[in-house]
Symmetry: C2
Amino acid sequence: MTAPLHEARPAAPGRALPDTQQGMRRRNLARVMHTVSAEGPLSRAAVASRIGLTRAAVSTLVDELIRTGLLEELGPERPGRVGRPGSALAVSGRGPAGIGAEIGVDHLAVCAVDLRGEVRARAIRHGTNRGRSPEPVAGELTDLVRQVVAEAEQEGLWPAGLAVAVPGLVARDARTVVRAPNLDWHDTDLGALLPADLPLIVDNEANFGGLAELWLGEGTPRDFLHVSAEIGIGAAVVVDGQLLRGTRGFAGELGHVPVRPDGPECACGGRGCLEQYAGEEAVLRAAGLASAEDRVAVLADHAAEGDETVRRALREAGEALGIALTGAVNLLDPESVVLGGALAGVGPWLLPSLRAELARRTAGPACPVSVSRLGSEGPLLGAAHAVVRGVLDDPAAVAERG
Amino acid sequence: MTAPLHEARPAAPGRALPDTQQGMRRRNLARVMHTVSAEGPLSRAAVASRIGLTRAAVSTLVDELIRTGLLEELGPERPGRVGRPGSALAVSGRGPAGIGAEIGVDHLAVCAVDLRGEVRARAIRHGTNRGRSPEPVAGELTDLVRQVVAEAEQEGLWPAGLAVAVPGLVARDARTVVRAPNLDWHDTDLGALLPADLPLIVDNEANFGGLAELWLGEGTPRDFLHVSAEIGIGAAVVVDGQLLRGTRGFAGELGHVPVRPDGPECACGGRGCLEQYAGEEAVLRAAGLASAEDRVAVLADHAAEGDETVRRALREAGEALGIALTGAVNLLDPESVVLGGALAGVGPWLLPSLRAELARRTAGPACPVSVSRLGSEGPLLGAAHAVVRGVLDDPAAVAERG
């Protein structure tokens, strides 16, 4: 049985750990790891001053983290400084790694990320998964995971957990895909189909994309809305650096926000949902283009060549996004909106009408909208980093397992 | 200068307190207070078993809380039980009280709530505040506060802080009213106009209404959306028992979610906002009635008498609420929606169309919608309880001040 790696879900360092001496030690181990991870290399004294503990207390914690292979010493700092030279500490480039995976409508991908945040191995398999049953897809994904883990092990890493991004709604058990319309999967327990020897987290691709933006984006605020527009349109709502998940885990269903309440019928039962105007296939239809493997590239090519029908279709998609985002911005008051996923590739033709709609519908300065630099890589990287964050958040748990 | 009582903002007990021995003591004092408040009267042994500390540790904490007047002993438990009789502990009915106030469009109200949650004094003044400048309104409110504080002091209480609910957007400094269209106030620093001797929190009335629902409602879940529909329509977004405030403190602006993007122009600059269909004045207009002091009572009377125009206006307001809430439910995935504020008084004529709209537009079982039992009392009670919660969350701070 695979235990869900709940620690790897975004949380303040060790917030859930009990308020005892033992819990305090675990939280302080997490503080040391996060500090060295964010600002290292650092001496023990520098770590102590940053987290407000004595140098002796930090030394004990650091010794434990070195012993379990999570930190390493880079050797004495360069001479010439005043006082006894300290040894700089860095997060280990060996030891635990996060294995991220993505089940896309058109591909499968897996990567291994070390504690330093570097991608150390990756594998990809192109080909549609639409309408395939979950078993063979999970089987192929397992093969890719084994391949990436073997590569990572050659470099002295070991897999601390597996996180899988899926294009659908995931239950709060972090393993059951409740509904993935573009794969035609319902109530699929991925936990039963993936390697049982790795702690598992399954989450919606928009959520992992949003977390990637939070953790890896440059200057990303702690309150933002990450829109992941592909065949479906999802969003990640990040509040004070935490993902808002909702009661059932379904928060962020931006694609089914009503944009024109009397508009065309949607598969969800509603009418005039955002996906009817700004989903990839709706845009292709409005642009008079046939569906293809590389839908967004086709749209971008036509738009760049000045195809007025395609440009109008993208402009109208931007308007629909602007109307739906006006509602979201009014409800959530985020610091910014980040457009990620495949449709980010047609950002130049979406953004002007999107921004105009948002500006004219909101009082005061409009919420800034930008395009993610991570693009379609976001969900895969977010998944791998979710495992890495889990290690930083509770290094003691990993040391016990490693 | 009035210090904002940030402790009184909703937070897990003492979450923000530092992770030191001293911080641990303060958090444990909060745990004892919350436990006795929620489940008391309780013996020291019962408190110890509930919070997982030793009886000796709890006795030390309890002694401190009795000494500072936050807990009291009810005398020995009734004989006949096995073992030495313990003395039952209860939250004190004297000591600190929360002063709640409300600046409504048509009234001012103030109340004092003790640590047990009982209203011990109240005062109200009817009359419109629309278009009046903030100074005289704050002056009258101050008179009411002084009157309620004097009454509370006669009963052995002292004011731990003042919380004021306003019908507008409040900055995150918890004292500046950025925009209150129905009062015609802009960038009003209430902190400079209200008694400087009381720690102050100013917040939006929908937020305090939502907190009242969370703290005082029966069986209220930890994730819900509280809709406060009056002249304006606001919402409180409660996630895992915490209010979602947004970057600027403006989250929950449900009234300006676009319902029909090409609909009538709204003062906010948008078109077809929810307020154009479901705000009190829009409904009165659609019902062919003139605006009156007691708008909702007028609507309820006509609807009860079978006035078909009024019923249709309310049915259409329910539809508009249903469309806007479909978007909100898709984004937030709350466990339920609670309809509060004045429009709750016409719930029977709003709810059927609201629920039908929500059900047909969302896949799976629709989010349950209910009417608040607190009605228009919510914001005032929520304000007073916010101060009380601040005391329970960090009793040490209050003991130092008291």
